[in-house]
């Protein structure tokens, strides 16, 4: 299922692949055509991706070929020792975590797990964690605190699971508890929104000293569809809602919600896992290095200042947003 606005890109990609196939014949020589098309493709990717609407970004952020937690674990980290369970009820598969090595830095890695196949997705509950997942995350953060390890969270969820059992076991309590505890965690926390940053389910592991965001990720208080069906009484108005919600990385940077945008390659993260992982690795290491020099006390103070400033009346964030509007 290709995206509408990617059609032209996909067509050129298809032609290049075709020519490459023909080129395998020693008698053929399509080198010139391939070179030209490749140039064209790059220009096309740049121009399409430079002009994405918020709603198109939503679709990229949810793209099935986008790197998932398991891809980052395999491609970006040098080791992963998964630690299971919340020591209370279950080992949720919507959020997983464990010890991991990023280059030479050791971290506690926690992230939402989505699947690529239907089976994987059912197991991971489509990245929608249960309260047990948030409680496991908190347990691992507390372990990281004991071991003096920085925490890295990778966020990619449509939201916390809205199920009956999830309510019965306290989805609200689990998220509220995490927000409360993360605000005072005495080790560095770097959160990365890699795909969908879906509301409470995202911020439930998303309170960070540094919050990074891939350039085509989204982060929102509600899905555009949900917002549209409530405020426009018409789910098909999702593109307008996406626009209004300011859920793209540049808007969120302006609003002071995120600290840095990690650029995806032209054509999006789903076209080049390696490139986006290289960029993310560099950004993560840079932030981890900087945060490592701060004392636990200082870290907690800074994090408190950071979050309590958000949405403060007459605060910088609001002024910034207005400046952005005027442009």
């Amino acid at each position: 299922m290709d995206l509408e606005f990617e059609k032209e890109i996909v067509e050129v990609e298809r032609r290049i692949a075709e020519l490459n196939r023909l080129n395998a014949d020693p008698k053929a020589n399509f080198d010139a055509e391939i070179a030209e098309l490749t140039k064209k493709l790059e220009a096309l990717r740049r121009s399409v991706y430079a002009g994405l609407s918020p709603w198109q970004t939503v679709q990229i952020a949810r793209h099935k070929d986008r790197p998932l937690l398991q891809d980052y674990i395999a491609g970006m980290f040098r080791e992963f020792i998964e630690l299971h369970g919340d020591r209370c009820y279950a080992d949720d598969r919507g959020i997983i975590g464990g010890f991991a090595r990023l280059d030479k830095r050791r971290v506690m890695l926690i992230g939402h797990q989505k699947g690529r196949t239907v089976e994987e997705n059912i197991k991971a509950n489509f990245g929608m964690a249960n309260p047990d997942g948030y409680r496991k995350a908190l347990r691992l953060m507390k372990l990281a605190e004991k071991y003096g390890l920085p925490v890295v969270t990778l966020i990619d969820t449509p939201g916390a699971y809205p199920g009956m059992e999830a309510e019965a076991r306290g989805q609200a309590e689990a998220i509220a508890r995490n927000l409360t505890e993360m605000s005072a965690l005495e080790v560095p926390v770097v959160a990365v929104i890699t795909g969908e940053g879906g509301s409470g389910g995202a911020i439930g592991i998303g309170v960070g000293d540094a919050v990074l965001m891939l350039s085509n990720a989204i982060y929102s208080v509600i899905s555009p569809e949900g917002c549209a069906s409530i405020l426009w009484r018409d789910g098909s108005q999702a593109p307008r809602a996406a626009e209004a919600l300011k859920l793209t990385a540049p808007s969120l940077l302006e609003l002071g919600i995120i600290d840095e945008i990690v650029p995806e390659p032209p054509g999006g993260a789903h076209r080049d896992h390696k490139a986006v992982m290289a960029a993310l690795r560099d950004a993560l290491l840079r932030h981890l290095r900087a945060l490592a020099s701060l004392s636990p006390r200082k870290l907690v103070e800074r994090r408190y200042e950071k979050y309590t400033r958000m949405g403060r009346r007459d605060a910088r964030a609001e002024r910034r947003a207005r400046r952005h509007e005027k442009r």
Partner: protein
């Protein structure tokens, strides 16, 4: 007597009735408006605890003449310049302000509960469904900071449909912001009592409303993270009747006690007496 006359007579009766009577949202019983108000908006037939205004709540919980409002100047902000099918958020919030006389969905201040000084934050559902906007979060945070500075117990009365979409991500951030404030309060050993009233859902239930030292709910009120309809669509089955009621949450371990409106003040006072301030 013509048909039109009959109609207008019946219409008139209905208007009179609406003036004199209130229909209980719980059991649909008709109750004399006077009785309804005297009963603190609690249905005398089914015990449903209907919404009350912040002023009624203050009168109910805080000793007369002791309430001093704090941060009254803080109102709504419109960081996204948000506009939807019904028009700009700015107009919507201005209308809410005019209608309620409030500048945000919460009123905060200090006062006394049977003589015990406390900081109190009271949400009012009339103001944009008690939604959690930046101003709401700011006032909650400042209440927690005031409580910390003066070592006073903090009491928050929640009534909210959840996050305020019109403020987008900044609304979501209020969850982290308010919890950060309460986390400091907790670490300093200062009490925080959460009172959950009808309804307390979404982002408010998933932040400050749920992390009280003691969580007290009014009977029968709705408390939950996700909406009932969303859940039914997700799991494709009907939910039990008592799902997401205060009683359901108590049985599942998230609410410490359920107290009737008329008994709430005494209970608060008795609980706060257990804190040995050092």
């Amino acid at each position: 007597m013509g048909w039109f006359n009959l109609k207008s007579q019946s219409e008139r009766r209905q208007v009179e009735r609406e003036d004199l009577w209130t229909v209980c949202p719980g059991c649909k019983a008709h109750v004399f408006r006077e009785e309804w108000s005297k009963g603190l908006n609690v249905c005398p037939k089914c015990g449903f605890h209907d919404r009350i205004t912040f002023q009624q709540r203050i009168d109910l919980l805080i000793d007369g003449g002791t309430f001093d409002e704090l941060n009254a100047h803080i109102g709504t902000s419109d960081p996204l310049r948000f506009s939807d099918a019904k028009g700009p958020y700015a107009e919507k919030s201005a209308a809410a302000q005019k209608e309620t006389g409030m500048r945000e969905a919460v009123v905060t201040g200090r006062g006394r509960i049977h003589g015990t000084p406390v900081v109190v934050a009271i949400m009012d559902f009339r103001f944009l469904g008690g939604s959690l906007g930046s101003g709401t979060g700011e006032k909650i945070l400042l209440s927690a900071e005031y409580a910390l500075k003066h070592r006073l117990p903090c009491v928050i009365v929640s009534a909210s449909g959840g996050a305020r979409m019109h403020e987008g991500i900044l609304s979501l951030m209020q969850m982290a912001k308010t919890c950060a404030g309460l986390s400091r309060l907790h670490r300093a050993g200062v009490p925080y009592i959460s009172i959950l009233t009808h309804p307390t859902t979404g982002g408010v239930s998933a932040s400050y409303a749920m992390v009280g030292d003691v969580n007290i709910a009014e009977p029968g009120v709705m408390i939950g993270f996700a909406g009932r309809r969303v859940i039914e669509q997700t799991i494709k089955q009907k939910l039990p009747d008592d799902f997401q009621t205060a009683e359901y949450l108590l049985a599942h371990g998230f609410i410490d006690c359920i107290a009737k409106r008329a008994e709430m003040k005494d209970l608060l006072h008795r609980i706060l007496a257990y804190w040995n301030r050092k």
